[in-house]
């Protein structure tokens, strides 16, 4: 398990992912996990019926693993996991699950935060929100880029 990533076209069962991760990380003193969940409304307030995540087979999986590997190298963590959805995602479904295990809590918190900041800007996906007025492509916000820049990579 130590440092792994997976791309799924079917639902992420975050509870099962976390249970499996905790089991695999036996001996760690801290486990931090994060779920990113599809919102029912766009920033403008419009209702979102679905989110579509296009990916580039091969390149997308490698981008997930590179981010996980970088986090594993950077922080004092024993285990890291990234699970990411692709395809059509309904509001309320999990888009991304990350987990980090470490001897003490700080490294696990930081590693999870780092993974998400990198994923939000660098993971190889093309996202569009589908609503009543058609679809709208989404790009990282200035806030997302500023979050990623905090880590100085």
């Amino acid at each position: 398990m130590a440092c792994s990533s997976r791309l799924l076209s079917t639902a992420i069962a975050a509870d099962r992912e976390l249970a499996g991760f905790i089991q695999a990380a036996a001996g760690a003193g801290a486990v931090v996990s994060f779920c990113g969940i599809a919102r029912p409304a766009a920033k403008s307030g419009e209702v979102v019926d679905a989110l579509h995540l296009d990916h580039y087979p091969g390149m997308t999986e490698r981008s997930l693993q590179t981010i996980a590997d970088d986090g594993y190298e950077r922080f004092d963590v024993s285990d890291l996991l990234v699970v990411h959805r692709c395809g059509t995602i309904k509001p309320g479904e999990t888009i991304v699950f990350v987990a980090a295990a470490s001897p003490h809590r700080r490294a696990a918190f930081e590693a999870a935060d780092y993974l998400m900041d990198r994923l939000k800007t660098e993971a190889v996906f093309w996202k569009r929100e589908q609503g009543v007025d058609g679809t709208r492509w989404i790009e990282p916000t200035e806030g997302d880029r500023a979050d990623a820049a905090r880590w100085g990579d």
Partner: protein, 83 residues
């Protein structure tokens, strides 16, 4: 030589997921490739120049000077959305 070009993101919505173009047997630069696609597919010209479109060869992002050969996997990528 006929070569398949892949499109991702908003580009694929506009141009379809792939097109075929003719490139020289000795290959060409990425910059040449942009010109060739625009010349051979008029509707692609604006799409390829309107946004910062990156090019991946064999799934690695490359610069405008990179040399591309027929048979390599060539993809034009709209700006990434991230995860």
């Amino acid at each position: 030589m006929r070569t398949r070009i892949l499109f991702f993101g908003a580009l694929s919505a506009r141009l379809g997921s792939e097109r075929e173009i003719e490139i020289p047997d000795e290959g060409c630069s990425v910059a040449d490739l942009r010109r060739l696609i625009s010349a051979q597919h008029a509707d692609a010209a604006e799409a390829l120049s309107s946004r910062p479109i990156k090019v991946a060869v064999d799934q690695e992002i490359v610069g405008e000077d990179a040399h591309v050969m027929a048979g390599q996997e060539i993809a034009f990528l709209s700006p990434l959305s991230g995860g």
